[in-house]
């Protein structure tokens, strides 16, 4: 299977590198505004923007080609060599600038419009956004249809993008795809803006009121962030489409948020996850589908949409983070819960043995009745696991007449029973509960008291020596 994987991967060519680089740059550029949107709890706004910019793009596109037609702007010329590269650069720059402006304008327009609808339509924010971005996207599609002969925009391409094709759309005579320049430039701009305005973005995100009180104009910062997001989305649009752009805005940011609690680290990790996800996505796109489909009897399937696979890869990173995140991860939560369960089982075993030995020493005949407490046969597998660890650590001796506590085992058990009986005494002082209920709550609380709370309770109850049932409250030897 690995040999097949590497065989399939060996078809990797220069163009594959460019596809991966284009995707990675687009994703990395999106990750930065995406992180800010995530922290502002406005991820949906990024989603809305990626659709709402469409009419702006179409109009900008139409505007540029119209101006070229009537001669206000020089039309693309045919030359060669360095001149053509320079020419190509300026053309790309001009067209992109027009598209950026169009997108930023319609993005801000969408944001403002949804505010207005929210206020005057008396609907909640997400509903207002839903109304605006779907309508604007529809308007964009309509414009494309109306001017289909002028605008060489394909609705399918708008939705899904065409990463493979944009990689072939090169800059002049070079092998560098135009999209690399555009997305790379956007990444640079976003990185620079984030560095320059880190403080301002952080404060206006965390506490817009204080930002305003300090004279920072958070509403202006908000509009600027919207515009930059819109421009970034447009840069990525052509390569990856409106749907994948959402993934690129949200997934790396959400992944990074799980991995760190430091804002600068989160921003950086977001970029890393975006890059890794994209490269991995292209590797998967040219290997996995063929490997899977040839086994399913469809050998004609060679590869899948790279953009789609990039999303899958990023999503994989996210799931990994959900599972393995150092602070919020499920793996850690499970491990902690398991450790707690094991501790409780161990302590219950110790407590049981202690009570049995206590009963045996006061009334020898009762010992047989309670012999089942430490009987290994009656234990669940988890209790057996706890018992094994107790034996290994020398807290329990397993003799032929059943288990017994060692010296250190007795001390540990005394500590636990002390917690139990102190808690019973405390409850009896403050709650009017029947005796059986005292035992039940103490059975739960005993595992969590610890020395400080023990001392506090003992002090409040004037260092009691007997619990409410008339049993001795033991004191572990090291605290005598």
């Amino acid at each position: 299977m690995f040999t097949e994987f590497f065989k399939r991967l060996s078809v990797w060519e220069g163009i594959d590198t460019w596809i991966a680089v284009t995707g990675a740059l687009a994703a990395m550029a999106c990750a930065l505004p995406g992180t800010w949107l995530l922290l502002r709890r406005q991820s949906l706004l990024g989603d809305a923007l990626s659709h709402a910019v469409l009419p702006g793009i179409v109009l900008a596109y139409l505007g540029v080609s119209w101006m070229e037609e009537i001669g206000w702007l020089a039309a693309p010329a045919t030359g060669s060599g360095a001149a053509r590269v320079a020419e190509g650069m300026s053309l790309v720059a001009r067209r992109q600038l027009a598209l950026f402006a169009g997108a930023a304008l319609s993005g801000v327009f969408a944001a403002v419009l949804s505010e207005v609808i929210q206020r005057w339509g008396r609907v909640e924010r997400s509903a207002a956004l839903g109304v605006v971005f779907t309508s604007m996207f529809a308007l964009g599609l309509l414009l494309i249809r109306l001017f289909a002969d002028r605008a060489h925009l394909d609705p399918g391409c708008v939705l899904y993008g065409n990463l493979e094709a944009t990689a072939f759309n090169r800059l002049g005579d070079t092998t560098i795809p135009q999209a690399v320049i555009v997305n790379g430039g956007m990444l640079l701009v976003n990185a620079l803006l984030t560095l320059l305005f880190f403080k301002e973005l952080r404060l206006s995100t965390f506490d817009p009121d204080l930002a305003a009180a300090q004279g920072m104009r958070p509403s202006l910062i908000s509009v600027a962030l919207m515009s930059v997001t819109a421009a970034t989305v447009v840069a990525a649009f052509e390569s990856v489409g409106a749907i994948l752009v959402i993934a690129m805005l949200i997934i790396p940011a959400a992944t990074a948020r799980l991995l760190s609690d430091r804002l600068s680290t989160i921003l950086f990790l977001g970029i890393v996850v975006a890059a890794v996800g994209s490269v991995l996505g292209h590797v998967m796109a040219i290997t996995l589908p063929a490997m899977i489909c040839s086994r399913l009897g469809m050998p004609q399937v060679e590869d899948a949409s790279t953009a789609g696979m990039m999303t899958v890869a990023a999503c994989g990173c996210f799931l990994l983070a959900v599972f393995l995140s150092p602070r919020h991860g499920m793996a850690r939560a499970w491990y902690e819960r398991w450790r707690l369960k094991l501790r409780i089982v161990r302590e219950d075993l110790l407590g049981g043995l202690f009570r049995r030995e206590e009963a045996a020493s006061s009334q020898p005949h009762a010992a047989n009745r309670q012999a089942t407490v430490g009987d290994p046969v009656r234990l669940s597998w988890f209790q057996r696991l706890g018992r094994q660890s107790l034996i290994r650590q020398g807290l329990i001796d397993s003799g032929s007449h059943g288990d017994s506590l060692t010296e250190s085992g007795t001390a540990a058990a005394q500590d636990l029973v002390r917690s139990h009986r102190l808690w019973e005494s405390y409850m009896a002082r403050h709650f009017a509960l029947p005796d059986a209920r005292l035992h039940d709550t103490a059975e739960k609380v005993e595992h969590f008291l610890g020395p400080e709370l023990q001392a506090e309770i003992a002090a409040e109850l004037d260092q009691p020596t007997m619990d409410p049932h008339g049993k001795v409250i033991p004191t572990p030897p090291e605290r005598l």
């Binding site: 305005f197 995100t205 305003a212």
Partner: protein
Amino acid sequence: MSNHLDSSPLSIHDMTVAYQRRPVLWDIDYSAPSGKLIAIVGPNGAGKSTLIKAVLQLIPAASGDVVFFGKPYREQAGRIGYVPQRTSVDWDFPIDALGVVAMGLYRKIGWFRPVTKKYRLQALAALERVGLAEFASRQISQLSGGQQQRVFLARALVQDADLYLMDEPFAGVDAATERAIVDLLRELRAAGKTALVVHHDLQTVAEYFDEVLLLNMRLIASGPVEQVFTTENLRRTYGGKLALLDQVGYRMSHK
């Protein structure tokens, strides 16, 4: 404008504040005395937070004017410390306590410049004053409510302002924090600063504050606690809103 006292830290002249044309504060006329601790007291919906936000221009005032130490807010922003309600921000935001306190210095640091060590030390000193120095690198999401409130206070302290506007600093805090805040307020007063504090607990007004400002959509009374904080004035403040004000407000927003 002649009746504005230049010495007053905060002087409000005939200010009316409206949300979508519906007035929530009517014709407020008030001058805060310098170097006092002043409680802003009134029932829910009386416009206490609105008053603070309006003088800081966080929400627009429909009419009237406000001056700080004789000058408009924009010229005096550096001398005014603001402590918003604790619940107004997202405490899951990825930042540590020191980072939040340093935010109070952003204005002084200025655009484009990073928070350097000098400023971090200032922030640490402010955290120390509220007794949280050892929590400097703790994520804010892991602080208790009282500790979060103290972080907010430290953020205002670090500005070294002359006038502090605090929105419900005592809301939902533990006894230790309440004690710490009171000590801090007295410390500020001893240093000649003025604090206007939105306060909910009528029991402690006389103990904690010198002056009181009774508010219920309009200014009911203001002045030294012993003169103004009377049963009669409290009855006027809490004895239901003036029904007529509400009705007129309703009409103004629905016509």
